[in-house]
Amino acid sequence: MADIVFRDVRKCYGDHEAIRDLNLEIRDREFFVILGESGAGKTTTLKMIAGVEPVTSGEILLNGRTIRSLTPEERDCAMVFETYALYPHLSVYENIAFPLRAPKRRMPADRIDQTVLRVARVLGIDRFLHRRPAELSGGQRQRVALGRALVRQPAVFLMDEPLSHLDARLRNEMRTEIKAMRESFGTTIVYVTHDYSEALALGDRIAILHRGRIEQVGTPSEVFRRPLNRLVAESLGDPPMNFLKGTITLDQSQSVFARGDWRIPLPESLRLREYVGKEIVLGLRPQHIRLERNRPDTPYNLHSKLFVQELTGEHTVTSVTVGDCLFMALGKADTAYSLDEPLYLAWDPEHMYLFSEDTGEALLAEGD
């Protein structure tokens, strides 16, 4: 049982404000992911939950009690780091059993044995129990580190980029592993990463943190489809969303996105009316862009020139220049274009995003 509440939490290092007015509720047994670039304040947030870093002002409540009043045992957090600090002279079995052998626990040997075996089986390391860490691959070591944290059955599991220095292949495998493991152990998990696909794959909810401030909290589908601002939209997706600056103007009482000679009709909304005459940014995800040689039969199109085409597996990433902007489109690998060939980009209106140039706030999202 553990829910965690942040109330107006601030954290300063000297003059530098690492965390600004953080308000957040992490629910019991939730897999909560904090996504952000390096320096966003993710690790600081984790350390404050663990009680390793004191808050500068505000309050963090664990099950309704301020963590300042709790002893480390009462906080009952287990932390897994990017680097896995295993005891090199102990076998995998002893590494996992280590927290259980703490004198205070007084756990009988057969219970220790049962617990270690159960966790090892879940993590798929039961075959390596007699080995030393040096004899394991990076992914296996990371599993041992997870196992050692898991056997304690902590109320809260804190994970700080546990996969970030594994290679791509292993990272994907371990991500699936963590997802599976999570379903076998009902703990609250707070997981920090800079990798958006990890966040989408693992999180029940995701908080996007930027320069110490939360930009949005929501389910993976909410933050991906309905980002609150340009920053959130940009941080989810690979290749990332394409952006094009323009203004909203009225064309015979219809509001349109205007840039140079281009006019793209916009759906009627009171919200957009307020932005007439102002600068806005059009956003399109690479997978929603179609490329056509002839002018498409839709007003939702832009004219461009081929920059370069790259094949990646079954997909092609086609880069085109729209004015002085580089756009990327993701599609099936079928047509080959020549350098600088003129091309039209076309999309369906429901896949169009609009943001305020000024504040970055989303004015239009998918399905509006």
Binding site: T176, L200, S221, D238, E310
Partner: protein
């Protein structure tokens, strides 16, 4: 003209029996080609590149450049540009002076320098930052300047060592497109090292896949993806990775009849097995199938469908990854985004035989049981 030939090139550390970083590597890098060395860390790809650059002593074999042996030629005499090994820009010089530097040393006339700078700045999109100092630039901009400086002196070949690995996602995409575009404009022989199969697929004319100091396969991106030479290449290329299953071939009156996994029939073979392959069937065999080729349904459609248990589902925005448990083995299946799966939901798995690959379990070598050996489409 710049054709680079590696003939049984080796790098051995220490004495005669020391460990090999690169072992008997033979490869012809064609003039104008974009060749990518791909492999996990420690496979010998960077060592190979450094031998080509002249930064690493060659301990066996021959390296020739347009037919001339260059084993003992110092790096500066090889007319090869190593782009952004690190940015190594002169901090006190403006961007423009940084780029001009190699040309001034070569005593190019001013008019030619100006013309060249204008062109290169346009090509790597740094025209608006030519007057700035390196410390005023972002990592991505510094890298463009470093790239410009390498291009500008018109070397015969370019070498790149993991140039994108420390850029963030967005910059990486843009730089990748830029490198590819510059190559398609200049068509200079390029050797590029990476551990990222996605990057290799996107950039290469041909990919040389390396593993444990040895060359595993050389081919176009399509070839290494659709026609892998062995289980290592098959598993390393493609995202998510290929699934591997232990299988046996069941024979009926001398013909291959079916493939089974743990005693369960999972696919029927459409034709006769080449007699030359018979001996392979007594050895342990592995079947491989790509995650997007596995078909699944809630009801059993065929006698060969196998029941699987859903273990996890990861929705990744543009696609979903379903992990299921089949007997004692996990399988990865690529799905559309936002599909919903219930944990206890029954799932029947179908392996289309035309999308199965076979490998010897011992050697990892790809086997071509004849009835299945036809042109594949991934």
């Amino acid at each position: 003209m710049a054709e680079i030939i590696l003939d049984q090139l080796s790098k051995r550390y220490g004495k005669k029996h020391g460990p090999c970083a690169v072992k008997d590597l033979s490869l012809r890098i064609r003039d104008r080609e974009f060749m990518v060395f791909l492999g996990p860390s420690g496979c010998g790809k960077t060592t190979t590149l450094r031998m080509i650059a002249g930064l690493e002593e060659i301990t066996g074999g021959n390296l020739t450049f347009d037919g001339k042996p260059i084993n003992d030629l110092p790096p500066q005499a090889r007319d090869i540009a190593m782009a952004f090994e690190n940015y190594a820009l002169y901090p006190t010089l403006a961007v423009r002076d940084n780029i001009e530097f190699p040309l001034k040393i070569r005593r190019w006339p001013h008019s030619r320098i100006d013309e060249k700078i204008e062109w290169v700045a346009g090509a790597v999109q740094i025209t608006d930052i030519l007057h700035r100092r390196p410390f005023e630039l972002s990592g991505g901009q510094q890298q463009r300047v470093s790239l410009a400086r390498a291009i500008v002196r018109e070397p015969k070949a370019f070498l790149f060592d993991e140039p994108l690995s420390h850029l963030d996602m967005k910059q990486r995409q843009v730089m990748r497109a830029l490198i590819k575009r510059i190559h398609s404009q200049l068509r200079k022989t390029t050797v590029y090292v990476t551990h990222d199969q996605n990057e290799a697929m996107a950039l290469a004319d041909r990919i040389a896949v390396m593993h444990q100091a040895e060359l595993q396969q050389v081919g176009t991106p399509e070839e290494v993806l659709n026609n892998p030479a062995n289980a290592f290449v098959a598993g390393f290329i493609g995202e998510p990775a290929m699934n591997f299953l232990d299988v046996e071939v069941g024979m009926k009156s001398g013909r291959a009849a079916w493939i089974s996994h743990a005693g369960n029939r999972l696919a029927d073979l459409p034709g006769a097995l080449d007699p030359a392959c018979h001996h392979l069937l007594s050895a342990p065999l592995q079947a491989g199938i790509r995650p997007h080729r596995i078909e699944f349904s809630e009801t059993r459609m065929r006698a060969t469908d196998l029941a699987a248990e859903i273990s996890t589902y990861e929705s990744l925005g543009e696609r979903g990854i379903l992990t299921v448990r089949l007997r004692s083995q996990d399988l990865t299946i690529l799905t559309l985004p936002e599909q919903t799966f219930r944990k206890a939901q029954p799932l029947w798995i179908h392996f289309p035989p035309e999308h199965l690959y076979f490998f010897s379990k011992d050697s990892g070598k790809r086997l071509h049981p004849d009835p299945l050996d036809r042109k594949r489409t991934g």
